[in-house]
Protein backbone atom coordinates (compact mmCIF):
# COMPACT_ATOMS: atom_id res chain seq x y z
CA UNK A 1 0.00 0.00 0.00
CA UNK A 2 1.17 3.50 -0.76
CA UNK A 3 1.99 5.89 2.04
CA UNK A 4 0.92 9.40 2.93
CA UNK A 5 2.05 11.92 5.55
CA UNK A 6 -0.24 14.63 6.92
CA UNK A 7 0.67 18.09 8.28
CA UNK A 8 -1.68 19.85 10.70
CA UNK A 9 -1.41 22.70 13.20
CA UNK A 10 -1.51 22.59 17.00
CA UNK A 11 -5.27 23.05 17.11
CA UNK A 12 -6.16 20.18 14.80
CA UNK A 13 -3.27 18.23 16.31
CA UNK A 14 -5.15 18.42 19.61
CA UNK A 15 -2.31 20.11 21.46
CA UNK A 16 -4.49 23.08 22.41
CA UNK A 17 -5.47 26.50 21.11
CA UNK A 18 -3.54 29.72 20.95
CA UNK A 19 -1.66 28.87 24.13
CA UNK A 20 0.22 26.18 22.18
CA UNK A 21 0.58 28.08 18.88
CA UNK A 22 4.26 28.61 19.69
CA UNK A 23 5.20 24.93 19.85
CA UNK A 24 7.77 23.61 17.41
CA UNK A 25 7.21 20.71 15.02
CA UNK A 26 6.73 17.11 16.17
CA UNK A 27 6.12 13.89 14.29
CA UNK A 28 3.81 11.12 15.43
CA UNK A 29 3.39 7.61 14.10
CA UNK A 30 -0.14 6.98 12.93
CA UNK A 31 -3.00 9.40 12.59
CA UNK A 32 -4.09 12.34 14.73
CA UNK A 33 -7.16 14.54 14.12
CA UNK A 34 -7.85 15.10 10.41
CA UNK A 35 -5.17 12.52 9.57
CA UNK A 36 -7.67 9.85 10.66
CA UNK A 37 -10.15 11.03 8.05
CA UNK A 38 -7.40 11.20 5.43
CA UNK A 39 -6.57 7.61 6.27
CA UNK A 40 -10.14 6.69 5.31
CA UNK A 41 -10.28 8.81 2.16
CA UNK A 42 -6.84 8.31 0.67
CA UNK A 43 -5.80 5.35 -1.41
CA UNK A 44 -2.83 5.15 0.91
CA UNK A 45 -2.02 4.59 4.54
CA UNK A 46 -1.32 7.69 6.59
CA UNK A 47 1.83 6.54 8.35
CA UNK A 48 2.69 9.75 10.21
CA UNK A 49 1.16 13.01 11.37
CA UNK A 50 3.28 16.14 11.70
CA UNK A 51 2.07 18.84 14.06
CA UNK A 52 3.48 22.35 14.33
CA UNK A 53 2.24 25.48 16.08
CA UNK A 54 1.13 28.20 13.66
CA UNK A 55 3.09 30.93 15.41
CA UNK A 56 6.23 28.81 15.43
CA UNK A 57 5.98 28.25 11.69
CA UNK A 58 5.05 31.90 11.12
CA UNK A 59 7.92 33.35 13.12
CA UNK A 60 10.64 30.74 12.44
CA UNK A 61 9.79 29.34 9.01
CA UNK A 62 13.34 28.35 8.05
CA UNK A 63 13.95 26.56 11.31
CA UNK A 64 10.53 24.85 11.33
CA UNK A 65 10.91 23.69 7.73
CA UNK A 66 14.40 22.34 8.38
CA UNK A 67 13.23 20.38 11.41
CA UNK A 68 10.32 18.88 9.49
CA UNK A 69 12.41 18.00 6.44
CA UNK A 70 14.87 16.25 8.80
CA UNK A 71 11.97 14.28 10.31
CA UNK A 72 10.79 13.24 6.85
CA UNK A 73 14.24 12.38 5.52
CA UNK A 74 14.30 8.72 6.70
CA UNK A 75 10.65 8.07 5.76
CA UNK A 76 9.12 6.78 2.57
CA UNK A 77 5.93 8.41 1.37
CA UNK A 78 4.08 8.88 -1.91
CA UNK A 79 2.03 11.95 -1.13
CA UNK A 80 2.08 14.83 1.41
CA UNK A 81 -1.10 16.63 2.41
CA UNK A 82 -1.62 19.60 4.74
CA UNK A 83 -4.66 21.22 6.31
CA UNK A 84 -7.39 22.01 5.30
CA UNK A 85 -6.61 25.50 6.56
CA UNK A 86 -9.96 27.22 5.79
CA UNK A 87 -9.57 30.98 6.30
CA UNK A 88 -6.99 30.66 9.08
CA UNK A 89 -4.24 32.89 7.70
CA UNK A 90 -1.26 31.63 9.66
CA UNK A 91 -2.30 28.01 9.19
CA UNK A 92 -2.71 28.55 5.45
CA UNK A 93 0.70 30.12 5.13
CA UNK A 94 2.16 27.28 7.21
CA UNK A 95 0.54 24.62 4.99
CA UNK A 96 1.82 26.38 1.88
CA UNK A 97 5.32 26.82 3.29
CA UNK A 98 5.78 23.19 4.29
CA UNK A 99 4.12 21.79 1.15
CA UNK A 100 6.39 23.83 -1.10
CA UNK A 101 9.49 22.76 0.84
CA UNK A 102 8.50 19.07 0.85
CA UNK A 103 7.83 19.15 -2.89
CA UNK A 104 11.18 20.77 -3.60
CA UNK A 105 13.17 18.42 -1.39
CA UNK A 106 11.49 15.08 -1.99
CA UNK A 107 9.67 15.60 -5.29
CA UNK A 108 6.43 14.08 -4.01
CA UNK A 109 2.99 15.51 -4.82
CA UNK A 110 1.78 18.00 -2.19
CA UNK A 111 -1.81 19.09 -1.73
CA UNK A 112 -3.62 21.40 0.67
CA UNK A 113 -6.88 23.36 0.95
CA UNK A 114 -7.67 26.97 1.85
CA UNK A 115 -10.43 29.50 1.56
CA UNK A 116 -10.03 32.07 -1.22
CA UNK A 117 -9.55 34.81 1.40
CA UNK A 118 -6.58 33.01 2.94
CA UNK A 119 -3.35 34.91 2.14
CA UNK A 120 -1.65 31.55 1.64
CA UNK A 121 -3.54 31.11 -1.62
CA UNK A 122 -1.80 33.90 -3.50
CA UNK A 123 1.53 33.03 -1.92
CA UNK A 124 1.58 29.36 -2.83
CA UNK A 125 -0.97 28.48 -5.49
CA UNK A 126 1.72 28.41 -8.18
CA UNK A 127 3.81 25.90 -6.22
CA UNK A 128 1.22 23.78 -4.46
CA UNK A 129 -2.16 22.39 -5.46
CA UNK A 130 -4.56 24.26 -3.16
CA UNK A 131 -8.17 23.13 -3.18
CA UNK A 132 -10.78 25.88 -2.91
CA UNK A 133 -11.97 25.36 0.65
CA UNK A 134 -14.60 26.73 2.98
CA UNK A 135 -14.09 29.63 5.35
CA UNK A 136 -14.58 27.79 8.65
CA UNK A 137 -13.61 24.45 10.14
CA UNK A 138 -17.15 23.09 9.90
CA UNK A 139 -16.44 22.77 6.15
CA UNK A 140 -13.96 20.02 6.97
CA UNK A 141 -16.30 17.28 5.75
CA UNK A 142 -16.33 18.81 2.30
CA UNK A 143 -12.79 20.18 2.10
CA UNK A 144 -10.88 17.13 3.28
CA UNK A 145 -12.34 14.68 0.72
CA UNK A 146 -11.63 17.25 -2.01
CA UNK A 147 -7.95 17.19 -1.04
CA UNK A 148 -8.04 13.39 -0.93
CA UNK A 149 -9.63 13.22 -4.38
CA UNK A 150 -6.71 15.08 -5.97
CA UNK A 151 -4.17 13.15 -3.90
CA UNK A 152 -5.77 9.91 -5.09
CA UNK A 153 -5.17 10.93 -8.71
CA UNK A 154 -1.46 10.95 -7.92
CA UNK A 155 -1.67 7.75 -5.89
CA UNK A 156 -3.63 5.96 -8.63
CA UNK A 157 -1.33 7.43 -11.25
CA UNK A 158 -4.11 9.00 -13.26
CA UNK A 159 -3.87 12.57 -14.56
CA UNK A 160 -5.17 15.31 -12.27
CA UNK A 161 -7.87 17.23 -14.10
CA UNK A 162 -7.79 20.98 -14.76
CA UNK A 163 -8.18 23.46 -11.92
CA UNK A 164 -11.82 24.43 -12.43
CA UNK A 165 -12.89 20.79 -12.81
CA UNK A 166 -11.05 19.50 -9.74
CA UNK A 167 -11.75 22.60 -7.66
CA UNK A 168 -8.25 23.88 -7.01
CA UNK A 169 -6.83 27.35 -7.53
CA UNK A 170 -5.19 27.70 -10.96
CA UNK A 171 -1.49 26.99 -10.59
CA UNK A 172 -0.51 28.92 -13.68
CA UNK A 173 0.79 25.76 -15.37
CA UNK A 174 -0.38 25.02 -18.86
CA UNK A 175 -0.78 21.46 -20.01
CA UNK A 176 -0.99 20.41 -23.60
CA UNK A 177 -4.34 18.94 -24.53
CA UNK A 178 -5.58 17.91 -27.94
CA UNK A 179 -8.90 19.33 -29.05
CA UNK A 180 -10.62 18.30 -32.27
CA UNK A 181 -11.94 21.78 -32.98
CA UNK A 182 -9.36 24.14 -34.48
CA UNK A 183 -8.49 27.52 -33.00
CA UNK A 184 -10.37 29.54 -35.64
CA UNK A 185 -13.68 27.82 -34.92
CA UNK A 186 -13.19 28.15 -31.18
CA UNK A 187 -12.39 31.82 -31.58
CA UNK A 188 -15.45 32.43 -33.76
CA UNK A 189 -17.66 30.72 -31.19
CA UNK A 190 -16.33 32.96 -28.45
CA UNK A 191 -16.78 36.03 -30.62
CA UNK A 192 -20.38 35.09 -31.39
CA UNK A 193 -21.06 34.45 -27.72
CA UNK A 194 -19.60 37.82 -26.82
CA UNK A 195 -21.64 39.66 -29.44
CA UNK A 196 -24.82 37.95 -28.27
CA UNK A 197 -23.98 38.60 -24.64
CA UNK A 198 -23.76 34.88 -23.87
CA UNK A 199 -21.29 33.42 -21.39
CA UNK A 200 -17.97 32.07 -22.66
CA UNK A 201 -14.62 31.25 -21.13
CA UNK A 202 -11.46 32.72 -22.58
CA UNK A 203 -8.58 30.34 -23.19
CA UNK A 204 -6.17 32.92 -21.84
CA UNK A 205 -7.49 34.59 -18.74
CA UNK A 206 -5.51 37.63 -17.68
CA UNK A 207 -5.29 37.68 -13.88
CA UNK A 208 -6.26 40.86 -12.08
CA UNK A 209 -3.82 42.09 -9.45
CA UNK A 210 -4.96 44.83 -7.16
CA UNK A 211 -1.88 46.96 -6.59
CA UNK A 212 -1.96 50.41 -5.09
CA UNK A 213 0.48 53.01 -6.40
CA UNK A 214 3.20 53.86 -3.89
CA UNK A 215 2.23 57.03 -2.04
CA UNK A 216 4.76 59.86 -2.26
CA UNK A 217 7.00 60.07 0.82
CA UNK A 218 6.56 62.80 3.39
CA UNK A 219 8.49 65.88 2.32
CA UNK A 220 9.11 67.07 5.82
CA UNK A 221 8.97 64.59 8.66
CA UNK A 222 9.43 67.40 11.22
CA UNK A 223 6.03 68.86 10.40
CA UNK A 224 4.20 65.63 9.55
CA UNK A 225 1.11 64.49 11.42
CA UNK A 226 1.06 60.73 11.92
CA UNK A 227 -1.78 58.38 12.91
CA UNK A 228 -1.50 54.89 14.39
CA UNK A 229 -3.67 51.88 13.65
CA UNK A 230 -3.56 48.22 14.58
CA UNK A 231 -5.27 44.96 13.72
CA UNK A 232 -4.11 43.42 16.99
CA UNK A 233 -7.30 44.18 18.92
CA UNK A 234 -5.93 46.74 21.41
CA UNK A 235 -8.95 48.26 23.18
CA UNK A 236 -9.88 49.78 26.56
CA UNK A 237 -10.45 46.83 28.92
CA UNK A 238 -14.25 47.06 28.66
CA UNK A 239 -14.08 46.92 24.82
CA UNK A 240 -16.62 49.76 24.47
CA UNK A 241 -17.13 49.25 20.72
CA UNK A 242 -17.64 45.52 21.18
CA UNK A 243 -15.15 44.70 18.46
CA UNK A 244 -15.34 41.00 17.68
CA UNK A 245 -12.40 38.78 18.63
CA UNK A 246 -12.35 37.24 15.16
CA UNK A 247 -13.94 37.97 11.78
CA UNK A 248 -14.31 41.58 12.88
CA UNK A 249 -16.76 43.94 11.28
CA UNK A 250 -16.30 46.72 13.84
CA UNK A 251 -13.46 49.09 14.71
CA UNK A 252 -12.82 51.64 17.43
CA UNK A 253 -10.87 54.85 17.98
CA UNK A 254 -9.28 55.62 21.32
CA UNK A 255 -7.98 58.91 22.67
CA UNK A 256 -4.30 58.94 23.56
CA UNK A 257 -3.77 62.70 23.72
CA UNK A 258 -3.33 62.68 27.51
CA UNK A 259 -1.16 59.59 27.96
CA UNK A 260 2.48 58.75 27.36
CA UNK A 261 1.95 55.03 26.99
CA UNK A 262 -0.77 52.40 27.06
CA UNK A 263 -1.07 50.85 30.52
CA UNK A 264 -1.89 47.19 31.07
CA UNK A 265 -5.16 46.96 33.00
CA UNK A 266 -6.42 50.05 31.14
CA UNK A 267 -5.97 48.60 27.66
CA UNK A 268 -5.87 44.95 26.57
CA UNK A 269 -6.16 42.88 23.41
CA UNK A 270 -9.38 41.11 22.45
CA UNK A 271 -7.76 39.40 19.44
CA UNK A 272 -8.59 35.67 19.51
CA UNK A 273 -5.76 34.69 17.20
CA UNK A 274 -2.81 34.59 19.59
CA UNK A 275 -1.89 34.27 23.27
CA UNK A 276 -2.87 37.69 24.72
CA UNK A 277 -0.62 37.55 27.81
CA UNK A 278 2.20 39.75 26.50
CA UNK A 279 -0.06 42.42 24.99
CA UNK A 280 -2.33 42.48 28.04
CA UNK A 281 0.68 43.05 30.30
CA UNK A 282 2.05 45.78 28.02
CA UNK A 283 -0.26 46.89 25.18
CA UNK A 284 2.59 48.99 23.73
CA UNK A 285 4.07 45.80 22.27
CA UNK A 286 1.26 46.00 19.70
CA UNK A 287 0.30 49.68 19.71
CA UNK A 288 3.60 51.47 20.46
CA UNK A 289 2.20 54.69 21.91
CA UNK A 290 5.21 54.97 24.26
CA UNK A 291 7.75 54.91 21.44
CA UNK A 292 5.70 57.28 19.27
CA UNK A 293 5.37 59.78 22.12
CA UNK A 294 9.11 59.60 22.80
CA UNK A 295 9.92 60.20 19.13
CA UNK A 296 7.46 63.09 19.16
CA UNK A 297 9.20 64.69 22.15
CA UNK A 298 12.53 64.30 20.40
CA UNK A 299 11.10 66.14 17.42
CA UNK A 300 11.61 63.26 14.97
CA UNK A 301 8.18 64.00 13.49
CA UNK A 302 5.71 66.85 13.81
CA UNK A 303 2.59 65.68 15.64
CA UNK A 304 0.55 62.63 16.56
CA UNK A 305 -3.12 62.25 15.65
CA UNK A 306 -4.92 62.15 19.05
CA UNK A 307 -6.56 58.77 18.44
CA UNK A 308 -5.40 55.32 17.51
CA UNK A 309 -7.63 52.94 15.60
CA UNK A 310 -8.22 49.27 16.28
CA UNK A 311 -9.80 46.27 14.71
CA UNK A 312 -9.07 42.54 14.75
CA UNK A 313 -7.36 41.00 11.76
CA UNK A 314 -7.99 37.30 12.26
CA UNK A 315 -10.59 35.80 9.95
CA UNK A 316 -11.54 39.28 8.79
CA UNK A 317 -12.26 39.39 5.09
CA UNK A 318 -10.46 41.79 2.76
CA UNK A 319 -13.83 43.25 1.88
CA UNK A 320 -14.69 44.10 5.49
CA UNK A 321 -11.17 45.42 6.10
CA UNK A 322 -11.45 47.70 3.07
CA UNK A 323 -14.82 48.98 4.26
CA UNK A 324 -13.51 49.71 7.76
CA UNK A 325 -10.52 51.57 6.31
CA UNK A 326 -12.84 53.66 4.16
CA UNK A 327 -14.80 54.59 7.28
CA UNK A 328 -11.64 55.59 9.13
CA UNK A 329 -10.00 57.57 6.31
CA UNK A 330 -12.31 60.65 6.51
CA UNK A 331 -11.47 61.00 10.21
CA UNK A 332 -7.78 61.03 9.34
CA UNK A 333 -8.28 63.53 6.55
CA UNK A 334 -10.40 65.83 8.72
CA UNK A 335 -7.52 66.07 11.18
CA UNK A 336 -4.98 66.65 8.37
CA UNK A 337 -3.10 63.42 9.00
CA UNK A 338 -0.16 63.11 6.57
CA UNK A 339 0.87 59.49 7.10
CA UNK A 340 0.00 56.32 9.00
CA UNK A 341 1.59 53.37 10.75
CA UNK A 342 -0.36 50.12 10.92
CA UNK A 343 0.76 47.33 13.24
CA UNK A 344 -0.57 43.87 12.43
CA UNK A 345 -0.28 40.71 14.47
Amino acid sequence: MKKAIVYINQFFGQLGGEDTAGVGPSIHEGQIGPAMAYNQELHAEVTHTIICGDNYMGSNPEDAVKQILDMLEPLEFDVFVAGPAFNAGRYGVACGTICKAVKEKFGVPVITSMNEENPGVEMFRKDVIILKGGNIASKMRKDLPAVAKVANCFLDEVPVGPADEMGYFPTGHRHQVFIDEDATSRFMKMLHARIKGEPYVSELIVPKLDRVPIAAPLKDLKSARIALLNTGGIVPVDNPDRIQSASATRWGKYDISSMDRLEGGVFKTIHAGFDPAAANADPNVIMPIDAMKALLKEGVYGSLHPYFYTTVGTGTTEKEAARMAKEIIPLLQEDHVDACIMVST
Partner: protein, 77 residues
Protein backbone atom coordinates in the same frame (compact mmCIF):
# COMPACT_ATOMS: atom_id res chain seq x y z
CA UNK B 1 -6.72 48.50 5.24
CA UNK B 2 -3.16 49.52 4.42
CA UNK B 3 -3.99 49.53 0.73
CA UNK B 4 -7.15 51.58 1.12
CA UNK B 5 -5.26 54.19 3.13
CA UNK B 6 -2.46 54.31 0.58
CA UNK B 7 -5.04 54.51 -2.22
CA UNK B 8 -6.08 57.98 -1.00
CA UNK B 9 -2.45 59.08 -1.17
CA UNK B 10 -1.36 58.76 2.46
CA UNK B 11 1.99 57.03 2.86
CA UNK B 12 1.60 54.14 5.30
CA UNK B 13 4.03 51.69 6.87
CA UNK B 14 2.88 48.17 7.61
CA UNK B 15 4.63 46.78 10.69
CA UNK B 16 4.07 43.03 10.74
CA UNK B 17 5.68 39.69 11.46
CA UNK B 18 4.79 37.56 8.42
CA UNK B 19 6.29 39.84 5.79
CA UNK B 20 5.43 37.61 2.79
CA UNK B 21 1.73 38.01 3.56
CA UNK B 22 2.06 41.77 3.65
CA UNK B 23 3.94 41.70 0.34
CA UNK B 24 1.38 39.45 -1.29
CA UNK B 25 -1.54 41.58 -0.18
CA UNK B 26 0.26 44.66 -1.49
CA UNK B 27 1.66 46.86 1.27
CA UNK B 28 4.41 49.07 -0.18
CA UNK B 29 6.36 50.12 2.92
CA UNK B 30 6.96 47.22 5.30
CA UNK B 31 8.85 47.13 8.60
CA UNK B 32 9.23 43.65 10.13
CA UNK B 33 8.23 42.96 13.73
CA UNK B 34 9.46 40.12 15.93
CA UNK B 35 6.40 37.94 16.51
CA UNK B 36 2.64 37.66 16.28
CA UNK B 37 1.60 37.96 19.96
CA UNK B 38 4.21 40.65 20.75
CA UNK B 39 5.27 42.42 17.57
CA UNK B 40 7.33 45.06 19.39
CA UNK B 41 8.78 43.62 22.60
CA UNK B 42 9.61 40.06 23.65
CA UNK B 43 8.36 39.56 27.24
CA UNK B 44 11.16 37.04 27.81
CA UNK B 45 13.65 39.91 27.58
CA UNK B 46 14.15 42.81 30.00
CA UNK B 47 11.91 45.88 29.92
CA UNK B 48 14.89 47.87 28.76
CA UNK B 49 15.59 45.53 25.84
CA UNK B 50 11.93 45.59 24.87
CA UNK B 51 11.94 49.37 24.90
CA UNK B 52 15.11 49.54 22.79
CA UNK B 53 13.69 47.17 20.22
CA UNK B 54 10.34 48.97 20.05
CA UNK B 55 11.86 52.44 19.91
CA UNK B 56 14.23 51.35 17.16
CA UNK B 57 11.63 49.66 14.96
CA UNK B 58 9.06 52.42 15.37
CA UNK B 59 11.72 54.98 14.46
CA UNK B 60 12.54 52.96 11.34
CA UNK B 61 8.83 53.00 10.50
CA UNK B 62 8.51 56.76 11.00
CA UNK B 63 11.56 57.39 8.84
CA UNK B 64 10.23 54.98 6.19
CA UNK B 65 7.28 57.34 5.73
CA UNK B 66 9.69 59.99 4.47
CA UNK B 67 11.73 57.60 2.33
CA UNK B 68 11.28 57.70 -1.42
CA UNK B 69 10.80 54.17 -2.76
CA UNK B 70 10.35 52.93 -6.28
CA UNK B 71 9.08 49.49 -5.45
CA UNK B 72 7.62 47.48 -2.59
CA UNK B 73 10.25 47.81 0.15
CA UNK B 74 10.98 45.88 3.32
CA UNK B 75 12.98 48.24 5.51
CA UNK B 76 16.01 46.97 7.41
CA UNK B 77 15.74 46.88 11.16
Amino acid sequence: MVKEIERVGLPIVHMCNIVPVSKTVGANRIVPTISIPYPLGDPATSKEDQWKLRYHRVKVAVEALATDIKEQTVFRV
